[in-house]
Amino acid sequence: MASVTITEVMKKFGDEPVLQHCNLQVDDGEFVVLVGASGSGKTTLLRIVAGLEELTDGQVMIGDRVVNDVDVKDRNIAMVFQNYALYPHMNVYDNMAFGLRRQHTPKVEIAERVTSAAKILGIEHLVKRKPKQLSGGQRQRVALGRAIVRQPSVFLMDEPLSNLDAHLRAEMRGEILKLHRRLAATFIFVTHDQVEALTMGDRIAVMSDGKILQVGTPDDLYQRPVNRFVGGFIGAPAMGFITCDVVTVGDGVVLRNASAEVYLPPERAALVAQRATGPVSVGLRPDYLRLCGDGGPAGSGTVLRGIVEVVEPLGADQHVMVRVGDASLTAKLPRSDRLQIDDKVTLTVTDDVGVHVFDSASGDALS
């Protein structure tokens, strides 16, 4: 097993920069998830680590070795591709044994390792079949099996679950995590699905426009996003944003627009007042929004007045989209709040950890 160190990696396709100043340290045995929207550069970064893409500038190290000029076949990595990329003309056994044969592993050992991996993944009864005779989930397991038999330094996974249905995806998430625990290996996992990222990663790197915006644990990213993009990307349902002015009222500060008044604890409010250079973007986590009772807003005093646009029942809860001024906020409310479309509602915030303030222009966090 080995660590992976990505230092100031840049990549251009022609004149188009696709990766800019990417830095990431993946420790030995760590499970790091690269997450971002399509086109954010996460797959390109993974392919650079694999050696399938050349970098324009920077350095990639696997363990103590700089691998910039090391051919892909000599990097001792394993990769699971989005579309599985099994060899269609070979059966499952040969697919899994392919890499070992390239390493001139003795036949007996190949048989042992393939059988053992097939057993772990529950595909020992499929080893004689060709890929076209397998279901999506089975193919996925074969692709994983092909990776683990080689006992590589690093596992690279490029959206390996994106072609599976929701149920199977959840099951395979668990399988991969179990595999990671069993092998104690270094994993770099690419996904555009933030639920996958939050549930699987020891740490997550959020990417956008070819840059790594923030690296941290799932809790770090959820509770302390460094900018508006990370705040909006991490968490489901997504954080909603309203634009407010920073208004000084007596000794305190309130974030206000025509439909909303948002109060922060004094020390955070002071920080916002000190850093804000104009209107601010206030991010509100849906999990912390509640309807105001008859007695008015509780606790913080925050009020958000709006009209219900959409109600999505989800069993015990419901996602309610509320138009507040010209912004749309989603609130995760108990199903017992009987709401209809076009109802006028007033929301409040149950805990100020659900409120994040960002600079309107740069998007950087202010508190």
Binding site: L52, V72, K73, M79, A85, L86, Y87, H89, G99
Partner: protein, 307 residues
């Protein structure tokens, strides 16, 4: 040169591949009698149109010279004779040599073309080097030239290199037009193979050439067969090159051999020519039917499907 649709990048799985025969069978069951009648008539007309020359070739090959020369020729030989076939091997013309030269030059050209086209197609499809695009299109541009344009320079070169009247010369001549065609055909097939499969093999510890041999080539099998068949047919049927580059009758291939042997200033031996033409067609037909499954899969693979 035959024209074929070069396969593109489109990919699909076997599951969503359209099945024209099944679709036709479904329509056949659901349509009315008039529609079925029209379809039958159209098919019969097309069959007669396509098969009539072949029937006429076989019928004429079984007729005597007197029957062939009748002002109102009969539809079928009466009485039938196989003397025209016997005459091919016992007559004054070296039909056996024609056949041998055709087989040797066509097979060798096909083999050389398939090997070099696979390498060139892989390079055009997967290579990362300067001027790959212009080079690829430059190869295609050679296909824009009529075959006849190449003949005079080829003749002069072969004259200097003493390659006239030789199988080697003919094979080189055939390769001049079959290689660009084959390279483009193979490029199309290789384009249709998802590159992730090759990347997976690279990550699994394989060199680029090993990936080409063990992963790409087996997956491009239909392309190899298609290329081989088209090149074989084109070289087997080629008249112009051997007619120009070979001037000894015993060194000729079948098409010019037949032309020179059975047509004369005062008389054409139609019976002998048709017998020879029939025997010439048989290997092609047998080869075509034997591999048509690959051929059809190969040609549709590019348009619709990937691996």
């Amino acid at each position: 040169m035959s024209t074929v649709t070069l396969p593109g990048r489109a990919r699909s799985t076997g599951r969503n591949r359209p099945r024209p025969l099944q679709a036709f069978a479904h329509r056949w069951r659901t349509k009315g009698l008039v529609w079925r009648g029209v379809v039958v008539v159209v098919i019969v007309v097309m069959l007669v149109w396509s098969l009539a020359p072949i029937y006429w070739m076989i019928a004429t090959s079984l007729k005597t010279s007197a029957q062939v020369a009748l002002p109102n020729p009969t539809l079928y030989p009466h009485p039938a004779t196989v003397s025209n076939y016997g005459g091919l091997f016992s007559g004054p013309f070296p039909f056996g040599s024609f056949l041998e030269n055709s087989v040797v030059t066509s097979v060798i050209t096909s083999v050389i073309t398939v090997v070099l086209s696979a390498l060139a197609g892989y390079s055009f499809s997967r290579g990362r080097y300067l001027f790959r695009g212009p080079l690829t299109y430059a190869v295609l541009a050679t296909q824009m030239l009529p075959l006849a344009v190449l003949l005079v320079p080829l003749y002069l070169e072969f004259l200097n290199l003493h390659l006239l009247n030789s199988d080697v010369g003919l094979v080189i001549g055939y390769c001049s037009f079959s290689l660009p065609f084959g390279a483009w055909l193979m490029k199309g097939f290789i384009d249709g193979i998802p590159i992730e499969i090759e990347n997976a093999a690279r990550v699994d510890g394989s060199s680029q050439f090993f990936v080409f041999l063990r992963v790409t080539l087996p997956l491009a099998g239909a392309g190899l067969v298609t290329t081989a068949v088209f090149v074989f047919i084109n070289t087997w049927n080629n008249l112009l090159y051997p007619l120009t580059l070979v001037n000894q009758l015993s060194k000729q291939t079948l098409p010019p051999g037949l032309l020179l042997s059975f047509t004369g200033q005062f008389k054409t031996d139609w019976g002998g020519m048709m017998a020879a033409a029939f025997l010439t067609t048989v290997p092609l037909a047998v080869a075509f039917f034997a591999i048509q499954r690959f051929l059809v899969r190969g040609l549709t693979a590019g348009a619709l499907a990937g691996v």
